[in-house]
């Protein structure tokens, strides 16, 4: 394990990504203690509406006089919660299906992979929007919709890895010495398939934050007065061009967070996939 961390530590962009991810995680956990006006998650102060950035309000205030800096910090928790929930749920659906389809063959495996293909063939956002709307718009339906559309990515990866590994010599050898199917799958194949899954999950976290922000922006996710980044940008549109800060800073928060996960994910992938590593 050590050389892997040593190699990751030499990859400057990946370390930058790791730094951002840790920073955002800290904000998510400690947000209410860090934010200068933690009460602004819900309170409103109509006397100080739409103030430009200043020392008191570094990112300015919004249409209800709330400190945008505080709300951006407080928004980290919601964004990460949604992303984590969606990615974990997708893994719980996708990984077992991938193992099943990859290790067994026959109609079940075929069916799973066909469904995977079909779901992957529809752009995730469109399908998620349709689902979220059919489930009646709310944060929970948004998360459910995102999970129901993201799992095929994991199935595809795990399937490919399982296929590769179950044809490999060491699994043949395990079968030869009489190891049981579940033992082979969970103790030998799963750990080997894990690294691409972790890479995908890292990138998936960033991606989900982005898509969840779109849902929030369209009013299909978080509901006011939640300090949601996407929602804030949607609300800010009415106050442009006067209050540019209202729209700008939540967007920067999304940008930096997603970039952090992508950089880290790319770095991890370079470690895992030697073919790509060579070309860097």
């Amino acid at each position: 394990m050590r050389p892997i961390f040593a190699r990751l530590a030499r990859d400057v962009p990946a370390m930058l990504g790791l730094g951002i991810v840790v920073f955002v995680l800290l904000l998510a956990v400690l947000g209410p203690w860090i934010a200068p006006y933690p009460g602004d998650a819900s309170a409103s102060h109509l006397l100080r509406r739409l103030k430009p950035p200043s020392l008191d309000y570094p990112f300015g205030t919004d249409n209800l006089g709330r400190d945008i800096f505080s709300r951006v910090i407080l928004g980290a928790r919601g964004a990460l919660q949604i992303a984590l929930a969606v990615v974990v749920a997708s893994m719980l659906i996708g990984v077992p299906l991938g193992l099943l389809a990859g290790y067994r063959s026959g109609w079940l495996s075929e069916t799973i992979m066909r469904i995977t293909d079909v779901v992957l063939a529809i752009p995730q956002l469109v399908l998620a929007l349709a689902l979220a709307q059919l489930l009646s718009p709310s944060l929970e339906s948004a998360m459910l919709a995102l999970s129901l559309t993201y799992w095929p990515f994991f199935t595809r990866i795990v399937y490919a890895e399982t296929r590769r590994l179950s044809g490999s010599l060491f699994v043949d050898a395990l079968r030869g010495v009489g190891a049981g199917t579940s033992r082979i799958v969970f103790l030998h194949i799963l750990p080997n398939a894990l690294s691409p899954v972790i890479v995908r999950a890292t990138i998936g976290l960033g991606f989900t934050i982005l898509v969840a922000a779109v849902l929030g922006f369209l009013g299909m996710g978080a509901t006011p007065p939640a300090p949601d980044w996407g929602l804030a940008i949607a609300e800010s549109r009415t106050y442009l061009p006067k209050a540019w800060w209202y729209a700008a800073f939540p967007g920067v928060a999304i940008l930096i967070t997603v970039m952090g996960f992508n950089l880290l994910g790319d770095g991890l992938r370079d470690l895992v996939d030697p073919r790509i590593r060579r070309s860097r």
Binding site: D117, V118, I122, F217, A247
Partner: protein
């Protein structure tokens, strides 16, 4: 060649059938009663029962699926609850605007992205490469809807250089509809003023939509070229004295484009999805803003039709990608 294409088409059929099943299940596996939803909040039980009968919702599942297939085959997607017009008609009218926007942004991202990717690969591990890598990370991480709003703020509201929304100025009379594509129709009518105005309207949405694709294309072209440069034939071509520019831009690039073409295919889906939000922000009269309208008003018929359309377009793009692969790499054609 023809056999190759037909074979690819045949391979897509199961996916299309699956798509029909998924969209069908979307209506029926959802906990809420579609008839209730269609009728609206103020409907009486009789109205709901009538609707149920009208749409065959009281029949068994498989029979309903048969009905559904029949309707799809005859392009009958029902009526939009919002516009009270046939969904198919709305879509046909709005499709050209979306295609125009999609192709414009695809063109932008390919024409800029491929050369930038090649340069990044050639300047591997020097500052242009680093700059482009940072750019491609940013381009993928940026939220398109936010970027669109920032562009509007800067170029329309503050600088006043480009129009804020729509596809044509309100003061500009529309050229007669021939193809439905505004740019083409302006040209056919010889209306240069309308053409210029339409291009100005197209600019910001196309740039917004192109950004993510541009980043992806730079990235995959770069790694494709880096990969190709490792091959023995590049060394051979240098040893026998190919000119540097022809070696890179013709002989290496063509080998590297397979990965890029796959990405362009995948991007197409991304562009359609991204277009949903971008169209809504720029009031672009295409499928995307139609979808958002449908979502906001709970118009299920429209959403299903759009999902089906997008899935079908995506499948066709995949066929196209395979064909282009075959053209780029003759070895694939022989195997098919």
């Amino acid at each position: 060649m023809l056999r190759f294409v037909l074979r690819r088409c045949a391979l897509v059929l199961p996916s299309l059938l699956g798509l029909l099943v998924v969209t069908f299940l979307l209506i029926h596996a959802v906990p809420s009663d579609p008839a209730v939803a269609m009728a609206g909040d103020a409907a009486t039980p009789e109205q709901i029962a009538h609707l149920r009968q009208q749409y065959g919702l009281d029949r068994p599942m498989w029979e309903q699926f048969g009905l559904y297939l029949g309707k799809v085959a005859s392009f009958d997607f029902g009526e939009s609850a919002f516009s009270h017009r046939p969904v198919a008609l709305d879509i046909v009218q709005r499709l050209p605007a979306t295609l125009e926007l999609t192709f414009a942004s695809l063109l932008l991202s390919v024409l800029i992205g491929v050369p930038l990717g090649v340069v990044a690969a050639l300047k591997h591990n020097s500052w242009p490469d680093y700059a482009l890598r940072i750019f491609s990370v940013l381009g993928v991480a940026v939220a398109a809807f936010w970027f669109a709003i920032m562009l509007q703020f800067l170029f329309s509201m503050t600088l006043g250089w480009l129009p804020l929304r729509g596809d044509l100025s309100a003061t500009m009379s529309r050229p007669p509809v021939v193809t439905g594509f505004l740019l083409l129709d302006s040209l056919i009518a010889g209306r240069w003023d309308a053409f210029g105005d339409a291009v100005r309207h197209l600019f910001l949405p196309a740039v917004t939509l192109a950004l993510g694709g541009l980043a992806t294309i730079v990235r995959f072209t770069r790694s494709g070229v880096l990969d190709t440069l490792q091959h023995d034939f590049v060394l051979y071509e240098r040893a026998v004295g190919y000119s540097r520019s022809r070696l890179v831009w013709i002989y290496v690039l063509r080998n590297s484009l397979t990965a890029t073409v796959t990405q362009i295919g995948l991007l197409f889906g991304g562009l359609i999805a991204g277009g949903v939000v971008v169209e809504a922000i720029f009031d672009w009269p295409g499928i995307g803003s139609y979808t958002v309208q449908a979502i906001l008003t709970g118009d299920r018929q429209v959403m299903l039709a759009v999902t089906l359309l997008v899935g079908a377009v995506y499948a066709m793009v995949n066929i196209l990608v395979d064909v282009v692969h075959g053209l780029l790499d003759p070895r694939l054609m022989g195997r098919a």
